[in-house]
């Protein structure tokens, strides 16, 4: 079974600064996808960024980028130029071949002025 570990329950960053959220996972599969989701108080899971395991190039979406280390089974999220609206719970998730998502326990990100 796959597991996803987020070791940072809470993180804080100043507005306009950069923060990195950590995620490690365990799997025996070779083909999979990894995601970062944002969950604001509205409760809806919003996709931030995704990475295909077969791609060596790290995914980037505007201010969000990942550092995907397949051999180390590490998938960290970097948020640049942090904004107040980035404050939320962030979940790392693994997608298996059948589409099941396995989530980590989340990291609460606070953004301060």
């Amino acid at each position: 079974a796959q597991t996803v570990t987020q070791s940072q329950p809470e993180m804080s960053v100043q507005e306009a600064e950069t923060v990195t959220l950590s995620c490690t996972y365990d799997t025996s599969e070779s083909d999979y996808y990894l995601f970062w989701y944002k969950q604001p108080p509205s409760r809806q899971m919003i996709l931030v960024i995704r990475q295909e395991a077969y791609k060596q190039q790290n995914a980037t979406e505007n201010r969000f980028s990942v550092n995907f280390q397949k051999a180390a089974k590490s998938f960290s999220l970097k948020i640049s130029d942090s904004q107040l609206g980035d404050a939320a719970m962030y979940f790392c998730a693994y997608r298996s071949a059948y589409g099941k998502l396995t989530f980590g326990t989340g990291t609460r990100l606070q953004v301060t002025l």
Partner: protein, 112 residues
């Protein structure tokens, strides 16, 4: 563009009762998955429906059952409610084989 719609948004039930939660997938999506998110935790996979059949199931007891209708909407039923069933229940829809998922805002179930 209508996303995933879940109803109701909040629900309070008594221990031992039964509950039905509903999900309408995003237009064009044919697969529906259900997740349980306890307070302070990440979502846990309950099951996935495609073509009106349960395709995959997580580690949940048989008290949790579901259904998918021909219009792809889905229901999650929980029988003999326990206090520990109190959680946010999220529905996610997707197109079979696609990578992306769209989540609803969830139903907050409180069992007293």
């Amino acid at each position: 563009d209508a996303g995933v719609t879940q109803s109701p948004t909040h629900l309070i039930k008594t221990r031992g009762q039964q509950v039905t939660l509903r999900c309408s997938p995003k237009s064009g999506h044919d697969t529906v998955s259900w997740y349980q998110q306890a307070l302070g935790q990440g979502p846990q996979f309950i099951f996935q429906y495609y073509e009106e059949e349960e395709r995959q199931r997580g580690n949940f007891p048989d008290r949790f059952s579901g259904h998918q209708f021909p219009n792809y909407s889905s229901e999650l039923n929980v029988n003999a409610l326990l206090l520990g069933d109190s959680a946010l229940y999220l529905c996610a829809s997707s197109v079979t084989g696609a990578r992306g998922y769209t989540f609803g805002s969830g139903t907050r179930l409180t069992v007293v």
